[in-house]
Symmetry: C2
């Protein structure tokens, strides 16, 4: 606290902070101890973030914000169990987060709220000079993406989009292989979000997953808000898990950029069938009358400035095993995750798939080698540990964020462009250049070395 007071009282720093909210000060001047954070939204995702935060010795959770007393209670329990000090609570309705942002002893916030809150909260946080670690989602509008970019450019407050799949162990090993040129020049990539979410979109209003066909006011947790997007929107609603790792492989916004996309959506049958087939649903259940606009499978093709093509598949309404459907293909080989196989010319037996396992071990990313034990047990197979670590370490070092506001904008905008394309019968849609041309000169920075 003394450290912070000193900084706040320094007239030099105060003057700079008027212009830049304090983030132009020299490396290492500021954080010598803990990063003090607030968590906005402690539902299913926020609780998981909290639990990771409580494991870090360089991080203090000084504030919690949520409109739901049950989930706030769970968060407080977690904090007490961890033997950490009780945080300040902000539970007074959906705009109480603004009061959290006025707290002087908060350095950064984790935003783990429903999708539609990510942009207003991020913008308010950046304007308040709080570093932002924002959960992933598709954007609500193209303009919303621009607002994020312009706010960042004006405030220079650190912003990171918390795309955890970028840190998945196999994904990072493949990135390592890409950078060692083992796939040759990259040509075509695939990814997506193929995840049977029917028990996420519907529940019994009490438990997180399944057990009923309720959503909206009668649903609980994600069913309360996420399902609404399936009722009203038809597009690639959740692009980042698929596009993030691909974007890192082909240096999007850093020598390359997305140029245009087209999307096509199948008919929408899965959610209605789930409701009518469910023992607690049936044809006479009021939710059986709802017309879900989201096509069961939405396929998006993206063209890049450097001529690579990308196919994204969004598939969340049907019974199916989980698969992000990754494929990385170049002039020298191909990897697919659905069969966990690859082919490298000159190494693999001619015209035959090989198990990817030995390669994933051999080319394990330095970060995973170094932090395997720390990450083990963390959410989503450890990758959640890495994405939080990256934000905190980059924040402490005042380094540029490894997944920044331009990444966020160009990934999240896919949702809006795909909605437009589908609404226009698959007409191609141009990507805005959120970097204003800076993509031509920016250099890749994501996870080189074993720092974070």
């Amino acid at each position: 606290m003394k450290r912070r007071k000193f900084i706040q009282n320094s007239s030099t720093i105060a003057a700079m902070s008027l212009a830049t909210n304090g983030f132009s000060i020299g490396k290492g001047d500021w954080f010598k101890g803990d990063v003090r954070v607030g968590i906005i939204g402690v539902g299913a995702r926020g609780l998981s973030t909290l639990s990771l935060a409580l494991q870090r010795s360089d991080l203090q959770v000084v504030a919690i914000c949520d409109i739901d007393p049950i989930t706030t209670g769970k968060a407080l329990n977690e904090i007490e169990k961890a033997g950490r000090p009780k945080p300040e609570l902000f539970t007074n309705g959906p705009t109480d987060y603004k009061n959290l942002l006025e707290k002087k002893d908060i350095d950064a916030v984790f935003i783990c709220t429903p999708w539609e809150w990510h942009t207003p909260m991020s913008i308010d946080a950046m304007n308040a000079g709080k570093g932002v670690a924002c959960e992933v989602a598709g954007a609500m509008s193209v303009d919303e993406c621009w607002q994020m970019v312009r706010t960042y450019e004006r405030t220079k407050t650190p912003f990171m989009i918390m795309e955890n799949v970028c840190y998945r162990r196999d994904v990072m090993a493949i990135l390592n292989m890409v950078r060692k040129d083992m796939f040759g020049e990259l040509i075509h990539m695939e990814g997506g979000y193929q995840h049977d979410l029917r028990e996420v979109k519907f529940n019994d209003g009490v438990n997180y997953y399944g057990g009923g066909v309720e959503f909206g006011d009668k649903g609980y947790s994600e069913a309360k808000w996420r399902t609404t997007h399936s009722v009203f929107r038809n597009g690639e609603l959740y692009p980042t898990h698929g596009i993030g790792p691909i974007a890192n492989c082909i240096n999007i916004n850093r020598g390359n950029r997305f140029e245009y996309l087209t999307s096509i959506a199948s008919k929408s049958k899965g959610l209605n069938k789930y409701i009518t087939d469910h023992p607690k649903g049936g044809k006479d259940h009021p939710n059986a009358k709802i017309k879900f606009k989201l096509g069961d499978v939405v396929t998006t093709n993206i063209m890049t400035a450097n001529g690579e093509t990308i196919m994204l598949s969004h598939d969340t309404n049907l019974p199916r095993p989980y698969s992000l459907g990754f494929r990385v293909q170049g002039t020298n080989g191909i990897w697919m995750d659905v069969n966990n196989s690859l082919y490298i010319e000159g190494i693999s037996p001619s015209h035959k798939w090989e198990s990817a396992e030995p390669y994933l071990k051999e080319y394990d990313h330095p970060l995973w080698k170094k932090y395997e034990s720390e990450a083990s047990g963390a959410g989503h197979g450890g990758m959640d540990w890495f994405v939080m670590n990256a934000f905190i370490e980059a924040f402490k070092s005042k380094d540029p964020m490894p997944l920044d506001v331009y990444d966020h904008a160009s990934w999240a905008v896919i949702t809006c462009l795909s909605e437009q394309s589908i609404a226009q019968g698959a007409e191609p849609q141009s990507f805005p250049d959120f970097t204003d041309g800076k993509w031509m000169n920016r250099k890749p920075i994501f996870s080189f070395g074993d720092n974070y």
Copy 2:
């Protein structure tokens, strides 16, 4: 011969044949013995067709046509080895097939020539009243597809598109499962032609596959003509292996139809790299200067009238294992061939892939159960036997062809529409309705039961 003479001399039949080229006569009146066929084109594919034809006791190969004396010699050897009578030869240049078509003792022709010859030869054959078994390819123009359709409608000469993958064992087992409603209502399908053809597109001018970087005049076999399409065209050049099996699953032209597509093509790097890296090629080889127009990976999305979406992948320029990339997905489950796995709700363990093998065995198509031993050893894992058998049996029975001219036109036109879409930056392209609305009332006929 007596049988045929009798028919030809019958004034009743002759009068009918003026109107319909002889194909309106009652079932079973005509063929009590062998079907007499000519084979036009006895290159790699034609020789394989010939070898299957020679195994059938109900089929006489009475004529062979090819411009190449080497390949014609190989065909004659095969026929002699099989102890069959020497056929009449038509080797006098590229239009000598027209003389073959004038032969009165030919009932049907197999067309196994380069792609660009399929339409003119099929049309001439239908006009000559010869049944047509035509090898697969993409079309050269949209109008060419219409010409095929209109010629068929005028002549009513039996025409079958010889799409062998429609008869692949796993594909037929899955079709069987689709018809038993195991996947529920179909929603999304994938397929394609993912086949490293670099040693097909380039060879040493002597051998069929590889050993050099020559094509066109200096190439041999497919390299002589097929590669030219990669030089000049950018599109889904070879759609039928992927789309045929999918079309059968969702009853295209029989209660359903393709509505529109968009295509996107990656940069073209694979063929140039192959030439420059090859020991007989190099940067100074004249072929290293050629700009291949065909993108290495071409991805096409198709929308159907009934709301299913289809993704096709054309991928022939890069090092990769062979995969047609099939996926059949409905409201009750999903099958993929790349991991040979499926998931059926209520049967498979929750959220987990199962090996497809036990299902493929249990739902083995009746045709495969019946003819497994006959088909074993035939080309492409036996499926070539089935496609020829279907043509010959339908022809003998005067049944409608199981894969007809409308199937051909709506599959082959994908090539032209995808070229147009790519040339226009992924603009969607509408499919012509080659059935003139008949798709609304036509009923599925492909491989019900175990007849053919």
